[in-house]
């Protein structure tokens, strides 16, 4: 199995289109496969994949579209999720478990229970979110490679 070398850094950016719920999850699945190949601990891979999947779903259902950038450093991974709006009016409220602005249609598809942002925070070792109405939201999550 290939291991991450000390000096290796890998970065990849991929777009998520607004409303493309059907494709949501593919980026997270590809992260999972890539990190497994790199020999990252399976528990870390799972935590990152869950956080990434939640973010990917959110981009598709809540935003005007955006991007996900993963950077793999020798000792940690950073996942940056950026969208182009509409922005979150009250981040404190959005971080509460059970609070959601998702449509009934999204709930019928099994998402929008108001668990996404809190779950991203729970799964990551560091979590920062900034948002501006009309501009967009940026979430930066860090994952240590030691479990």
């Amino acid at each position: 199995m290939e291991r991450i070398e000390k000096e290796t850094t890998y970065q990849e950016t991929r777009k998520v289109e607004k409303g493309d719920f059907a494709a949501a999850g593919q980026i997270s699945a590809s992260y999972k496969n890539m990190l497994k190949r790199l020999g990252v601990d399976s528990k870390v891979v799972r935590r990152l994949a869950i956080a990434s999947y939640e973010a990917e779903i959110n981009l598709a259902i809540h935003t005007f579209g955006g991007s996900m950038t993963i950077t793999v450093y020798p000792d940690h991974i950073v996942l940056v999720v950026k969208d182009t709006g509409p922005g979150i009016a009250d981040i404190g409220l959005a971080m509460q478990e059970g609070y959601s602005t998702a449509s009934e249609q999204v709930r019928m598809l099994g998402f929008g229970a108001g668990m996404g942002l809190p779950n991203m925070k729970r799964c990551s070792d560091t979590f920062e979110i900034t948002s501006e109405l009309g501009i967009g939201t940026t979430i930066e999550m860090g994952f240590l490679l030691t479990p």
């Binding site: 997270s28 999972k32 869950i50 999947y53 939640e54 229970a113 668990m115 729970r122």
Partner: protein, 120 residues
Amino acid sequence: MKVSQIAQILRAEVRCGEENLGLDIPYAVASDMMSDVLVCNDSDRVLISGLCTVHTVLTAQILDLRAIVFVRGKRPTPEMIEVAEENGITVLCTDMSMFNTCGELYKHGMKGRARPDGTD
């Protein structure tokens, strides 16, 4: 509980992943909301759901779950079976309701895992 036993108790059709029939899975999670399933990251669970979309299979893949039970007579699409096969996930289909599925498995010793906040 072995996957073969789960299939037998639920009189379920095995749609793919027969290689996992001898696998022992001690816990279960049952929900139609994948948001709720993703809250717990333990991989030693069978996913029981009436939500029959590719996102149910993707959720199992993300969580490293080895088996899914679709209840209420829901039948997965060929695309869902393909994703499940690629990821070594067994797909079982039962005509039982979610309530009876959970009841039967619980009666035979299957338990749910505590959530991260400590609640059952």
